[in-house]
């Protein structure tokens, strides 16, 4: 699987330091397109830093990050923002949704920010995604009225609405009980299987990692 000819995203000799602390010490990673990769490692191993760099949320200290053929270091802040909007989707551990917007408005947000009209096709896609994720009947509610699992599934829908090249999930089940976790992970799995998306997930839970096609272990800023 690691031999897939065109990776959706890759890093080469990626380093990142925070003052005296070395978070990443030369990471070479390929994320094959259409696959579900899990990144595991103990606390402070640099997993979060790695995906933040992949997402362009943090600048690489050294080396390169390439997503969908674009090297992120060549983009300025506005271009990077637009790139993120078009090509990368996010699911965080918590606080994924704007509390004052309804679930549907949250899902539509990346489209709106991109200046796209919410036409019938877009609404159709939002509805389809919600259908796939099993939250079609929750679209009119605000985040506070949704359970933790529902919130995470809405967040997945929001991440997928722009049909991104890369979906990044940072501890997406960290705040959920095991049953709900299983549901959410199942949906991420189906995202790869049924929608043919590339997913990378950070987790410290070996149970969660079992849903992935491939597990990368990070230790002390290096791939073990």
């Amino acid at each position: 699987m690691a031999t897939d000819p065109i990776p959706a995203a890759s890093t080469r000799n990626l380093t990142k330091t925070y003052g005296p602390v070395c978070a990443l010490r030369g990471v070479d990673l390929d994320l094959p397109a259409g696959r579900f990769t899990a990144i595991m490692g103990p606390s402070g191993s640099g997993k979060s830093t790695l995906v933040h760099c992949l997402a362009g949320l943090e600048q690489a200290g050294g080396g390169t990050v390439t997503v969908a053929g674009t090297e992120l270091s060549t983009l300025d802040d506005d271009a990077l923002t637009a790139f993120r909007r078009e090509h990368i989707g996010f699911v965080f551990q918590a606080f994924n949704l704007l509390p004052m917007l309804t679930a549907e408005q949250n899902v539509a947000l990346p489209l709106e920010l991109g200046g796209r009209r919410l036409d019938a096709a877009a609404r159709e896609r939002i509805r389809d995604l919600a259908e796939v994720l099993g939250v079609a009947d929750r679209l009119g509610h605000r985040p506070a009225e949704l359970s933790g699992g529902e919130q995470q599934r809405i967040a997945i829908a929001r991440a997928l609405v722009t049909e991104p090249d890369l979906l990044i999930a940072d501890e997406p089940t960290g705040n959920l009980d095991s049953v709900t976790s299983a549901e959410v992970l199942d949906h991420l799995r189906r995202t790869t299987d049924e929608l043919d998306r590339t997913v990378v997930m950070v987790t410290h839970d070996p149970e969660a990692a079992r849903y992935a096609d491939r597990v990368v272990i990070l230790e002390d800023g290096r791939i073990a």
Binding site: H52, D77, D78, F90, F92, M100, L109, E112, L113, G114
Partner: protein
């Protein structure tokens, strides 16, 4: 982004309430000033323009082409031209003029009314109804000679009624007038007490003060002689008004200064509100950035929120201000309902929108710079930014140098510039200055104040901006209180030497009866009175005899401690104000030798001119002994009590003096009028400043309540580990009071310091003996009042959180 904007406004709108109120109040302030200025103007047009209201043209003297000789006043019409014009146009002309004539009642006693004694003013009334600008109250208008209408106020004060007779004029000019009606006429330059027909008015044509100032004309005035000018009535009124409204405009300008202070204070409240609201929304904003909002999109969204707030609040402020302004016009005298003063309304609205946008720009800029990763972090917000410490320090240092220069050179402009620099510097230094001050103040509260103190200083910039808003108002208030106390004391001491005797009862004809002193002493409001003995003497250059007295015990009643009456032998002290009459003046100069003659005695003395006790000249007891061997009481000097009603007292003393055939000279009313004017000015200024202080207090309540919203979780934790609900309330109210009291104390110190600098720069050069008066009780009351108000402001948010 539109959805986000609308939904955010919906969700966070209430948090902008205080900022909105601040903007509403300052916009309303501006609009009220505008409406009142327009109302005062309209009032002037209605009263001053009344004689020309129904005229088409006004004919008056051409200032560039006329010969002013032979007329009583330079800018009135040539009498012959005026008469010819009025005769030719008949009912289409309304002559406006006046003559001052002696007036007696039917029984021969002098007619007194208003300020006129035995005299009155008479003006012509228009021939036709259309141009008559007097409003008939009772009776009818005069139809022929010998008839007159009287202005109601004058009829009231002279006790005249319809049917009464008055003899106006003397000798061949004397005419018996029957009062046929009472009228009201607006105060204008052509207002008179009596109005008569034009032929009757012509009867006094040869009197020196008889004149026709202008003629209001209906229709075409026809050919006019040289030196006479016809102006469209509207243009004429507006031109003349421009001279009168100078005062109105100056007042408006002064009021605008206070409005400007209120606007700056609201700007600070708006800035803190936005800073706090955006700080609370950092994670939301960061999430927006994560999912693809560019900085510009975030900036645009938050700026649009500010714009919506600014537009709504300014609109509300404009409406509220217009409503309040028109309401005040309805109850205030000498105002008339004006057309809406559009430039003022638009200006107030624009200022409100602008100040909201400008004040929210820095917080908006900070919000747009939020890093997307903030969305992933837990934990509290911080609002660190450039501290502005060095610029503030520079401003304070430079301003202090300027203030020193101003004091050395008595330069008022340098004073203002230096003061502004120091104050601006202090505001910039706020984040460095205020938190340590709050910590120091909190330390005084001991352990109970520890949490409140820590909370009050945890956002140094927010705290500094909040307190700065209050600091501005308090500094100005303290400076005004101190300045006015200093000025009042200085002027009071000055006035004591200028007007040493409150009331003098003087008799030049016969000595005063002995019982008068007891009667005067028994009059309510009299603190003390003395009889001053002397004689009457003749001074060269003054026809009437003058009382000459010696007053060794003047200190009992004189406000200057009797200094004016301690006369060295060989000199005579004369009150120069008492001999300044409409007809002639005493032509003595200080140092002149003067021969004073009393009966057979004659003494050569040197003149000293002072003022403020009346027409009795004062000499040394030795000098008096050379003038007369048997001094008699000639003058009573009266000292009024501090709580005396000057009008009543002077009235009562006047009656006593009349009965004794003596004359009263009163300085009490001038003294109290001066004091009252000053008090009105001081209180108006304080009232205007209180608007800014109130806005700042709203700001403190607002900052605390926004901070409380942020700290919901912490408060729940504190409650969980055993803080009572009351304890929580007290903690939050203490936080508000700490900020307010620190601002109030710092502002008071600054205000007193500024007042001292202004005292040295402005007051001392004029009144060199004046000393700085710091009204500690008033200042303490201000600090205390603000502390209490802040405690109350801090209670509002507590209710929300302690539930």
């Amino acid at each position: 982004m539109r959805t986000v904007l609308l939904v955010s406004l919906h969700a966070h709108g209430r948090r902008y309430a205080a900022a909105g109120i601040a903007v509403i109040v300052s916009v309303a302030f501006i609009v009220v000033i505008g409406v009142l200025t327009a109302g005062a103007r309209a009032g002037l047009v209605a009263s001053s323009g009344a004689p020309y209201r129904d005229a088409d043209v006004v004919v008056d003297a051409d200032p560039e082409n006329s010969d002013p000789s032979g007329r009583p006043y330079p800018d009135v019409l040539d009498s012959a031209a005026a008469v010819a014009l009025v005769e030719r146009l008949g009912e289409d002309a309304s002559p406006l003029g006046r003559v001052l004539l002696p007036a007696r009642r039917a029984d021969g006693t002098p007619l007194d009314h208003g300020t006129l004694r035995g005299e009155t003013t008479v003006g012509p009334i228009a021939g036709g109804d259309a141009l008559r600008w007097q409003t008939l109250i009772t009776g009818r208008f005069p139809t022929g000679p010998g008839e007159a209408v009287v202005h109601v106020w004058d009829a009231d004060s002279a006790d005249l009624a319809v049917g009464d007779r008055v003899r106006v004029g003397e000798g061949t000019a004397a005419v018996d007038l029957v009062v046929v009606g009472l009228v009201e006429s607006p105060s204008t330059w052509s207002q008179a007490s009596f109005y008569v027909t034009w032929p009757q008015y012509l009867h006094w044509r040869d009197q020196p003060t008889w004149h026709v100032g202008s003629v209001a004309v209906r229709g075409d005035p026809g050919p006019l002689p040289a030196g006479v000018l016809a102006t469209p009535a509207q243009v004429y009124v507006e031109e003349n008004l421009a001279r009168l409204t100078g005062g109105t405009d100056a007042t408006a300008l002064m009021l605008l200064l206070f409005a400007a202070v209120a606007v700056v204070v609201s700007g600070l409240v708006v800035a803190t509100t936005f800073a706090a609201v955006f700080a609370q929304r950092r994670r939301e904003i960061a999430l927006l950035r994560c999912v693809g909002a560019t900085r510009r999109q975030v900036l645009g969204a938050v700026c649009r929120e500010a714009l919506v707030l600014g537009v709504l609040a300014s609109l509300a402020g404009t409406v509220a201000g217009a409503g309040l302004g028109y309401g005040l016009i309805a109850v205030l005298p000498s105002m008339d309902v004006p057309a809406p003063p559009v430039p003022w309304l638009l200006g107030g609205f624009a200022v409100g929108v602008l100040v909201t946008l400008v004040a929210s720009a820095p917080p908006a800029w900070n919000a747009a710079r939020v890093h997307p990763l903030v969305a992933l972090r837990q934990g509290s917000t911080d609002d660190r930014g450039p501290a502005g410490g060095s610029a503030g320090g520079l401003l304070v240092a430079g301003g202090t140098v300027l203030l020193a220069q101003a004091m050395a050179g008595s330069d008022r402009i340098v004073l203002v510039v230096g003061g502004a620099a120091v104050f601006g510097g202090v505001l910039l230094l706020g984040p460095v200055l205020i938190p340590p001050a709050i910590r120091a103040a909190g330390a005084l509260l001991g352990r109970r104040g520890r949490l409140a103190t820590a909370n009050a200083v945890r956002h140094p910039r927010r705290t500094a901006t909040t307190t700065a808003a209050l600091l501005i108002g308090v500094t100005l208030t303290a400076a005004v209180l101190t300045g006015s106390a200093t000025w009042r004391t200085a002027i009071g001491e000055h006035r004591d030497t200028q007007l040493p005797i409150d009331v003098a009862i003087t008799s030049a004809d016969a000595p005063l009866p002995d019982e008068l002193l007891d009667q005067v002493r028994a009059t309510p409001g009299v603190a003390d009175a003395i009889a001053v003995t002397g004689t009457v003497a003749q001074l060269p250059g003054w026809a009437d005899p003058i009382p000459v007295v010696a007053a060794p015990d003047a200190a009992r009643v004189a406000r200057d401690g009797g200094a004016f009456a301690r006369v060295p032998p060989g000199t005579i002290v004369i009150d120069e104000d008492a001999f300044r009459g409409p007809r002639h003046e005493l032509s003595l100069r200080p140092g002149d030798p003067v021969a004073v003659a009393a009966g057979e005695s004659r003494v050569d003395l040197e003149v000293v001119l002072l003022g403020g006790w009346g027409s009795a000249a004062v000499v040394a007891p030795e000098t008096l002994a050379r003038l007369t061997g048997s001094p008699e009481p000639r003058v009573l000097w009266v000292r009024a009590g501090d709580d005396a009603d000057p009008l009543q007292l002077v009235d009562a003393l006047d009656d006593l003096a009349d009965a004794a055939g003596a004359r009263i000279e009163d300085h009490l009313q001038a003294r109290t009028a001066g004091e009252r004017e000053f008090a009105v000015l001081t209180w108006s200024v304080l009232g205007l400043l209180s608007v800014s202080v109130a806005i700042a207090l709203i700001g403190i309540g607002n900052t605390v309540s926004l901070s409380v919203l942020e700290r919901d979780g912490e408060h729940a934790l504190l409650r969980a580990i055993g803080l009572t609900r009351r304890g929580l309330r007290r903690m939050i109210a203490t936080e508000a009071a700490l900020m307010a009291v620190v601002a109030a104390v710092l502002g008071t110190a600054l205000g007193v310091a500024f007042a001292w600098v202004a005292h040295v720069t402005v007051v001392l050069p004029i009144l060199s003996r004046a000393s700085l008066q710091v009204p500690w009780p008033a200042l303490a009351a201000v600090v205390l009042g603000i502390g209490l108000a802040a405690l109350i402001a801090g209670i509002v948010p507590v209710h929300r959180t302690a539930r």
